[in-house]
Symmetry: C2
Subunit: 353 residues, 2 copies
DNA sequence: CAATCTCAAGAAACCGATTTATCGATTTAT
DNA sequence: ATAAATCGATAAATCGGTTTCTTGAGATTG
């Protein structure tokens, strides 16, 4: 029975076929630009397509082709500039190759991360770019390996032979930070990080430690690592200063940590760089408009996304061979929050002009 | 012919069926918990499912059911805290209802916005939450109406009878800002905004103007609106101050504008609130840890997301009736960047403790 | 003029599920 | 003992496409 006119179901390939007076197979061929269709029929198909506003259902077509043109992206959160722009880039690169990007957030939970990956698997995505909550040994990566999914791991990742990995060179960047700070005369540092992000934190911390040890063997590096949440970190930081510890420079290994440090400085009435210097891993737009501007390590988001997609598509296209690890170099933006130690007993002036 | 063992194709419902010695129809019934299956067969199906690690392909199943359990979300960008947390919330709410969220960014381009919506339409998503680049009259919303897609418009939206809309009460929030500033004695304001975001900007601007006119008829409200990019705005702002204009308070109608204003203050060596006061629309994490802390209007992201999904699912379930507009109230966080006018001729001290 | 080749088009199978309709075996009713 | 009702299971149709295979008409060749 014919559908009523008001029926708003979309036109299918069969509707186009009957409208054009040809078979669905012919319509399919026309849509794919196969040359073995008589020009007259091509014409009629196009007319029907325009008339009905027909567009193929990509999911139905993928079903038949047994290959989904979908890339999954899993990040710990959407809220940060870093992962926000990462997703933007991945989306751009996937679409550039004719794929759709489906992004999901694991919300910093390994359990959820696994569920999200199971969903990606159910969707039969062609490949996954995963930024793990913790590192390459989490349940999500394990799931990917067990299900033989093709994927690339980014960001919070050290090394694995199961997947290609791409991340920024946190150790190298931290060495840059160390060089700058030591060069200015600093000899007592505090480094803070979140233990859960084991992969990145360890890299960055060890890179810093190694560089400091080489450049200034007499220097002291204190470390505060909180397990999973920033609040314990805030408390530990407070205790640390309350004990009377007075490092001349603080290096925060992750972006939210930089905020925590700043708020603790506020609470104590300390100003950068006169009372203490500050460098944070991860740059943000606001850091260049505040007083003082905040020095930061800039991660090469576009390079990471580009390399990840590059590698992912190679694997999707069937390239074999051992998995590779790629480190992208970071830039260090020195800003007003860093100065020589003991810049002044009076807190206030600082970097102001 | 049997597949080789190494073949990594996923098990389909037919694989399960033959393994369990039943038909695919029976497997389908078991998976859906239909009761008319003999317990013995239920058992065998479960065994086969576990053995093969079978999980239904949701896209294939949706195809047959002619109803996709997918919600599309389209936002202008992923990079901002506002849209980042918006997407996070929408994802949570969609999953809570058994749907998957597919998020895409229009990258502040109406052209791309339309393309993204066409893709959502191709995917036959059940519904769309669209945060338009400009307002409810853009080509994307027009496309949605023409294709009779079900959707909800959020954020940069005034009024339309084609879709339900949800946004924050920018006019009300701006009135709050006006009340605070006028109460402190301010009589000369500068408001800055981005013209492209016509819907929200107009609301916020008019709300502010109306409140000022009522509370202090003698007050002066200058306005700088840039068309599409922030750089022209930066230039206009520079010219404005260069002309010798000296408002005592600046109200930025959008978050990136707040950054532009701050950077211009930096350039001129002005400090809040002694030299000038500042309030921004849209709160961000960093605003409470800087010197000074920045006063901001907080948008109720969760409420907006919640209302949007609520309404969207009602429509998906077939609810008819005229479209509704919902305004969610904002909070105003007064912080150190705001003070009485003429707080001090000397720039420097400001809000520092 | 008959046999072969080309070409375009369509019928049918298929992807992985769901759902309807049918069917055979029991069970119940007459 | 026969007819009717019940039950569980499956074959087949379907969703919207793609792809293989077949077919028939017209062109080419011997």
């Amino acid at each position: 029975m014919a559908r009523s006119v008001a029926e708003k179901r979309r036109a299918s390939i069969h509707d186009v076929a009957s409208r054009a007076g040809v078979s669905a197979a012919t319509v399919s061929k026309v849509m794919q630009g196969v040359s073995t269709v008589r020009p007259e029929n091509v014409q009629r198909v196009y007319e029907a397509v325009n008339l009905l506003g027909y567009r193929a259902d990509p999911l139905a077509s993928d079903l038949r082709r047994a290959r989904r043109r979908i890339i999954g992206a899993v990040v710990p959160e959407f809220e940060s500039e870093f992962f926000g722009s990462m997703v933007t880039e991945l989306e751009r690169l996937a679409e550039q190759r004719g794929y759709a990007l489906v992004a999901a957030s694991s919300r910093e939970s390994e359990e959820r991360e696994r569920e999200v990956l199971a969903r990606m698997h159910d969707w039969r995505v062609a490949g996954v770019v995963l930024a793990p909550v913790r590192n390459e040994h989490g349940p999500a990566a394990e799931f990917m390996r067990a299900q033989r999914m093709t994927g690339v791991l980014i960001d919070r990742v050290n090394a694995t032979d199961a997947f290609d990995i791409v991340s920024s060179d946190g150790a190298g960047a931290s060495a840059l930070v160390a060089r700058e700070l030591v060069g200015l005369g600093h000899r007592h540092f505090l480094v803070i990080g979140l233990g859960e992000q084991a992969a990145t934190v360890r890299n960055r911390l060890e890179g810093f430690r190694a560089a400091v040890a080489e450049l200034a063997p007499d220097a002291r590096v204190d470390v505060i690592l909180a397990e999973s949440d920033v609040e314990p970190l805030r408390g530990a930081l407070r205790d640390y200063f309350a004990k009377g510890e007075r490092p001349t420079a603080v290096y925060s290994l992750f972006s939210r940590g930089t905020l925590v440090v700043l708020s603790e400085f506020r609470r104590r009435g300390w100003h950068c760089p006169n009372d203490i210097s500050l460098v944070g891993f991860d740059d943000a737009e606001w850091m260049q408009v505040t007083w003082p501007t905040i020095a930061a390590v800039v991660q090469p988001v576009r390079q990471i996304a580009g390399q990840a997609m590059e590698r992912l598509f190679r694997r999707i296209e069937g390239e074999e061979g051992p998995s590779e690890a790629r480190l992208e170099p970071c830039r260090l933006l020195m800003r007003e929050s860093v100065g020589a130690p003991g810049g002044g007993p009076h807190s206030g002036g600082g970097a102001r002009r």
